[in-house]
Symmetry: C2
Subunit: 547 residues, 2 copies
């Protein structure tokens, strides 16, 4: 296997651990916990794993731990640092007892159900230390939800003598991990389940989980290329760059990148929804900033757009809902309409409000909304090129303002979408350390006999030695939400809080950033330089944790 | 001005210089030179700057240099390291005499003509050391070609007491620099003109110029994100990523990125042209590789595509030429055709061969070819989304093969285009050192009274101390080429050589890379780590210079 010079040099990095984990460890138990909401309902659903105490690991005295085998699963989209969770887990269980074995299930939760696995030996683990990607065992999106799956999983776990399963995933995967923990506990199968908080989206966090892993590296990678584009923008002085950033539901990535790079404009979906903004409101907001800069002689700028924006615009949600219903009910008639008359047809059939919104959309987007539908017949919002939609509508509005004499300038746009560029980047020092600590902590939760816990590492804006490692009962983060028409216990998703410190910092500066050219150029992630360059956590984390 | 931690730390980097330049310098002159072709014609056009000797700087004895002012211009597209050329030039002239002044002309060659300039003082220079972008004075695409421009430039040069002008640009800008040098020499204006080889495209190189600056950093930045995408590709195992890379004419960037990241497929325009491949040939080549991987159970992969591909496919060139002629002659009739009948109309009017090619194109591309035309009525080839064109046609071909039972698999594509992401990245150590040395060398060429030279730094695969600094007469790199119907003296553009070491290395490995998953993950550019990580030049340079 050919490796780059950096791959080779980076393999030697020894991730930093919280000081309490470096020696022999003891368990410090806190008070019993409650779920964040719907306590009664959650307790009823999780009689065996509800109300457990918070766990903190502290320095302790040597004790014997029986031999044990452990299984691990990567679930869902890639996030930088997954390999370090696994290497931390591996080192942790090997330190407890060198005979302990680690098994990885292949291509996600499906590997557990299909009995597709491999033993992760020291040779394999060493190949993947401090690397990006989930390719050590692959990942997958199979959801562990059904008893049949739990039982199939139990078969192989029993066969391999696995005492505990570690599931590395986002909010949904951790919810399912807890359901599985509860199931195995209820059945007295003697198998523990531990979760680890993963997602570049940054929306799995709460009082006990300061951040999900991968957010740090992904945002830094996006900010690197955004900064490069800003520098180009400020050198050429002739383009508006519309940059869409991954993140279907929450705008944490866009907000963090804005704090790192200080673009002229950044749209935050949660604010758009809270203020009940229409698509035209968003377009007008951007066009106004473009016109103001043009008036100062600056026909260039940078706009950040969260991927999920469209679904946060209440009026667009309404349009999409009506379109879904209408086309489901009239699919035959619709398919008989000539291609170049479909738009008119739809405009004539929708309610007045939605008809007007639909008519205002650029042709390509309108076509996409009516034609590109998923197997269930629903509009595929994720396929909409929001960055092009917005720039096209901004261009139209500016042309109208120009005709009215309200705008003088040139508007020329470039488009970018960053997502896959950051999900598998080699983890930053922060993510390398954080993930390794999460995996190591998981091994200790297993050794302590815990189940239904999420591995937790806190105080993460301090140097790694001062980090606090422990476990949080997953039920503690749950509430009841409607999913596919049914009330389900789920981990609360963390959207951007408009009264939170990161958004407030952004809101306090954005007017200046829109007017001035205040770009910051973070540059590429550094692994070997001074600590202030290599070890700084995200702005989001720093602002949220500042007391 | 807010700065990132890296911006602050990187400002302190002292670029490495060739040893011969660190002390007092003497000039060593070589033999008189000849142009690479068309000697007679070039000599006639450049009576004052033709046939000059190669220059090399060696260690020498102190000598007095009279005070002098110098002007500098950034010309054309951004490339990482431009600021270091300027800081090297600044340090060089200040070392010769602290009273020397450096003036920068604003927003490119236009700044010279319009007398738009500023003095670059130590305070300003220090803000821009080792940074990306051209924002210190901006760049522009005005071509210096007319006597009137030369005279307007002379006015301000005389007024500012400028003894020499340094033009930092690509092949065309350096050609124009030489024309200007010749003009000022013929007029006895006493103003020297020196060029510096800039372009991320890597197509300004020859026996005396080993590489143009910016190519190193841009390729490393693209390779970073390509590697990240490959790792994602290899983790998710469900997408084919089609990645288009900047570079209108030559495929050096695509080739270098392929050597760094070992993708499954990389198309090299020069080979497509040499083998007279049709668009269908290219599509079939990719589809075959997809089908072969699918047969081995791998429904994923990575394809690199050079931006200029379409213009290198002889049949596409023919189609575009006929379309341009036909639509110019029939624009009125064409515009009266209904939108949804335009395609049929064009198919019915073109020659049989081109009609068939046009009919094979996806609808969006066909529409773009007939509708999106520049002010001269020509097809805008650069707007064609080649990455989507190819993936769509590959998908169609695979569907046909599936129907024939010749292919079993899933084909799902993602698309990326990288260009602006790399043009203004902070320069790698290589580019930081190389650019600083180029600028410093330019100051010595000026002090030696030279004009019509390009600053040259060679032996660049050795440690910087061993680099050889000097000057190359620009006429030496010239030949006569037809441009806009007229024979003009121009610097020969360096396309990818199919018998050159970089292409041969790629060609020897590509079959294995197509079949296996042999991805290499270069990771982000490092500035502070071990030398093998931070100072390695491009694979292209290493292979070309290996003797």
């Amino acid at each position: 296997m050919t490796k780059s010079a950096l791959q080779i040099a980076r393999a030697a990095y020894q991730p930093k651990l919280p000081k309490a984990l470096t020696g022999v460890v003891a368990v410090k138990e806190g008070e019993p916990t409650q779920s964040v909401a719907d306590q009664e309902a959650i307790e009823k659903l999780f009689p065996n794993t509800y109300g457990m105490p918070l766990i903190q690991f502290v320095e302790g005295q040597a004790q014997n731990v029986a031999e044990m085998n452990v299984g691990v699963i990567l679930s869902g989209g890639q996030a930088p640092g997954g390999h370090n969770v696994i290497s931390g887990l591996f080192d942790g269980i090997k330190k407890l007892n060198p005979n302990n074995k680690l098994y990885g299930f292949i291509l996600g939760p499906g590997g557990l159900v299909d009995h597709n696995y491999k033993e992760l030996t020291a040779d394999i683990i060493d190949e993947y230390r401090n690397t990006g990607g989930f390719d050590i065992i692959g990942s997958g999106r199979t959801k562990l939800e059904k008893e049949e799956q739990f039982e199939k999983g139990y078969e192989i776990l029993k066969e391999l003598g696995i005492k505990a399963l570690v599931i590395i995933g986002g909010d949904d995967s951790n919810t399912n991990a807890c359901v599985l923990a509860e199931y195995y506990a209820a059945k007295n199968y003697g198998i523990q389940v531990i979760g680890c908080p993963k997602t570049i989206d940054g929306d799995l966090k709460n009082e006990m989980i300061e951040t999900s892993f991968g957010f740090d590296t992904a945002c830094k990678t996006y900010s690197e290329v955004i900064g490069n584009i800003e520098r180009d923008c400020n050198s050429a002085r002739k383009y508006w760059h519309f940059i869409k950033l991954m993140g279907r539901s929450a705008s944490h990535i866009a907000l963090e990148c804005a704090l790192q790079t200080q673009p002229n404009i950044c749209i935050i979906s949660e604010e758009v929804e809270a203020n009940n903004m229409s698509l035209d409101d968003v377009v007008t907001y951007i066009a106004k900033a473009v016109a103001d800069r043009a008036a100062a002689g600056n026909n260039f700028g940078t706009v950040l757009i969260p991927e999920g924006l469209i679904e946060f615009i209440p009026a667009m949600k309404g349009l999409i809902a009506e379109l879904n219903d209408f086309l489901a009910a009239n699919s035959e008639e619709f398919s008989s309409i000539e291609a170049n008359k479909q738009r008119e047809y739809i405009i004539s059939k929708l309610s007045a409000e939605n008809s007007a919104i639909y008519a205002s959309l650029p042709e390509g987007v309108a076509r996409q909304l009516s034609l590109d539908r998923d197997p269930h017949g629903n509009v595929q919002v994720s396929l909409i090129e929001t960055e092009k939609l917005l720039s096209e509508m901004v261009g139209k509005k500016l042309a109208a303002w120009k005709a009215e004499g309200k705008y003088v300038g040139k508007f020329s746009a470039q488009h970018h979408f960053f997502g896959y560029e950051g999900r598998c980047a080699a983890p930053s020092n922060f993510d390398a350390d954080y993930c390794y600590s999460l995996g190591y902590t998981a091994s200790l939760l297993i050794a302590s006999g815990k189940t239904g816990y999420m591995s937790s590492v806190r105080n993460t804006t301090a140097p790694a030695a001062e980090w606090i490692a422990g476990g949080v009962p997953i039920t503690m983060m749950m509430n009841m939400e409607r999913r596919h028409g049914e009330m389900k216990p789920v981990i609360q998703k963390a959207l951007v809080k408009l009264d939170g410190a990161p958004f407030k910092k952004f809101a306090a500066n954005r007017e200046a950033w829109a007017k001035e050219t205040a770009y910051v150029y973070p540059g590429p992630i550094q692994y070997f330089g001074p600590s202030e360059v290599c070890d700084e956590p995200t702005k989001t984390l720093q602002l949220e944790q500042a007391k």
